[in-house]
Amino acid sequence: MKPIRAPYCFSGGIHPVYSKDLTRSAPIQTLPCPPQLVIALSQHLGAPAVAIVKAGDSVSGGQRLADPAGVISAPIHAPTSGKILRIEPAPTPLGRPVPAIILEPDGHDTWDSPLTPMPDWSRLDRKSLAGQVGAAGVVGMGGAGFPTQVKLSPPADKPIDTLIINGAECEPYLTGDHRLMLERAEALWQGAAIIRYILGAKTVHIAIEDNKPDAIQALESARTLEDAAVCILKTSYPQGSEKQQIYSVTGRVVRTGGLPMDVGCVVENVGTTLAVWDAVVNGRPLVSRTITVSGDAVAAPANFLALIGTPFAALVDACGGARGRIAKIISGGPMMGFAQASLDVAMSKTSSGLLLLSASRVPGFTSQPCIACGRCLDACPMGLMPAELSQCIEADDIDAAEHLFVMDCFECGSCAFVCPAHRPLVQHMRRAKAIILARRRAAIKK
C-alpha cells in the first residue's frame, strides 16, 4: 500500500514551536560507556523489579540484574560488563528516589546474554516470542513504560486486527524516533512484522506526522511487508497519544476507561518496536536507547544511543557541555517531560530526551484567575473542560472533578499551554487524579 493520509484527526490539539531543527539532521551517535551506570529498579509502569545481584558481584553485559515482580513488571539487565558497587536509593527522572544498582563498567564489554536469538521467529509460536520480549525487559519507550509483553498478550476475547507503530513524535525538540525511522527503516518494518505476528493482527500502519517527509519517504522505500502502509498524520500535538492516534488512523474511538485492544488496536512506539526486533532477532535485552539532548543551553545538541543508567551529566558532557546558564533541566519533552533539580540523575528505559533550557525559554509566570476564555476547551484532545476542572480542584471539590472526567486527562499539557491566565491546569489535574486514585485504593483495601 502506498502511504495514506490519516482519514481522521482528533479534535483539539495545539501547535507549539517544535525546535526540532536543532537535532533533526544529527545522526544517532553511540555514546561511549560512562564511568558509572545508575540502573534504577523501577523504570517501568508497575511493580519495581527485584535485584538478584549484590554489591561486589561481577556481571557481564546482558546478564539479568533484577527479576520482574508480578505480571505488570519487567526485568532489568546489565548494559555492559563490570562490577556492582552497591544497591542504594538514587534519584530518578520522575522525581522519586528508587533503589538502583550502581554498576562500574570494566571497559571490556564482555557480553553474555541469557536470551537465544530467534531469527527464524516466523516459525515459532506467538507465546514464546512474547515471552522473549518480556524476558528482554522491553517496555513502552515512548514515555509510559508499560511492559510490552503484557500489551502483546491480549486476552482471547479481544482480537487485534490493526497494529500502529507510533512515529508521530509530537513532542517539541525530540528527534530520536525521527532519526531511528531514517536510519533503521528496515529493522523497524521487521520489528513491526514480528509484533504483528505475535498479535495475529492483519494490518500495520506506521503513523508519522507530515512534518517528517524524509522519514515517510525512507519508510516507504524500505517497505516490503504486505498489508502495511505509512500513515501520514496532520502535524498537531498530541498526535502521539495512543487514543488520539488510533482515532486519526482508524476512526475508532477508545471508550472512557477502555484500552486500545477494546477496538482491536495495539500501538507501539518506534523505539519499542526496534527493541522488540533486537530482542527477538538478536537475543539482545533492552539495555540502551536513543535520547535527544537538546535545548538552547546545550553547546552542541545531538542524538545519542546511550546505555540505560547513563547519568544526564555524561550526556551533557558529550554535547560539549552547557552553553550559558541553565535555568531548567527537563527529562523528556517540554510538554510532558519532568523538570529535574540537577543533572545528577540517570536515564532510564523511558528517557526520550534531555533538554537544557536557558532563562529566556523559561519565563516565570504568576497564575491568574480563570477568565473563561474557553481556549483550554478548544485545545483539550480529550474533550474535557479544564477551566471548570481546575476551579473545582482549586476549591477542593474532587468529587465534582471526577464527574467532569478528570481521570480521562492524560496530562498532555495542551490546556496549560494555551491558557492566557497561566493557570497550572495540569498540576491541578494531577493532584485530583492522585487523590481519586488514593481513594480508590483505600476503598479496595476495605
Binding site: Q340, S342, D344
Partner: protein, 332 residues
Amino acid sequence: MKPQSSADLHIVSSSPHAHSGASVSRIMADVLIALVPAFAAACWFFGWDAIRLTAACVTACLASEWLCRKAMRRDNTLSDLSAVVTGVLLAFNLPPALPTWMAVAGSVVAIAIAKQTFGGLGYNPFNPALIGRAFLLISCTGPMTTWSASAWRGADALTTATPLGLVKEALKAGQPLPFTLTQDMTWNFFIGNMNGCIGEVSAAAILLGVAYLLFRRVITWHVPVAYLGTAVLYAVILRFTSANAMPVSFHLFTGGLMLGACFMATDMVTTPITRSGLLLFGVGCGLLTMVFRTVVNGAYPEGVSFAILIMNAFTPLINRATKRQPFGAKSP
C-alpha cells in the same frame, strides 16, 4: 552528591514547560485596539465630549481598581488592562452630554461593586461596564436619556433624540412612525451619523473592530452571529406581521445592538465557556433585546444592556446545561 550553590539551582515545575505566550493583558490590549475605530468615530461625531468621557471613565476605573486592591490587600491588577477596557466600554455607553461626575460615579460602581466585591477579574458574574451603565440609567435617568443637539456634530435631522427613542415614543403614544427609513438614512445610521451613546453610533467602526478580534482569535463568531442573527430574524418576522415595524437595518444599526453584540456580550468572564453555550447566550440576548425594544413599554427605548445583564445571570446555568462529553465517553 556535591553541595550546590544557589547559582546551580534549577527551576523545577510541573509540565508543560512550554507556553503559547498568550496572556490576559494581551487579550485586553487586543480588545482596546479593536475599540480604536469606534473611538475615532466617537471623536468625529461628538468631539471633545468623547475624549472627556473616555478619559474620565478610564481614570476612574483605574483609580477604583487600585484602591480596591489596596484596601483588600491583594496584588495590584492594573497591568492586566481589564480596568481600562471596562472604562472605555462604559464611556462608549454614555450619552455625549453626560456630566463628568456621573461618568466617574458609574465607573466606581462598575469596578468597586460589580467587579472587585466579587474578587476581581474572573470572578464577576455581571459585565462591570454594563452594571455601571445600568446604575446610571436607573439613578440618573434624565441625563442618561437626554440627547442635546449641541453635543452632536453630525449633520441632518434627528438632533434631540436617538432614532430608536423617537420610534419608541411614537409607538408608545400610538402615533404613526416618525419617519420612513430612506437609503440615505440607513447609510448615515451605518456609519454612525446620528445621536446616541458615544461609542455605539458607528456600526461600521464596531464591525471593523470585531473583525480584528476575530482575526486575532480573541473572540469566536458564536456570540455576535447568534445575537445579531436572532435580532435580525426577530425583526424580519416583525416586519411581516406588524404594520408599524421598522426595517431590519434600522434595528441592526441603531441603538446599542452592534456594540453590545460585538463587545459587551463577548466579554469572556461573564459569558458561557462552551461554544454551544455561547450560541445559546447570543440567542437569548437577541430575543431579550428585541422584546425590550418592541414589546415592553418601559421607560427606556433600549434593551441591550439589560438583555446582556439578564443573560449574564444565566451563564452558570448555561455552562451546566452545555457540559461537554469527553472523547470516548460512553454514549447515554
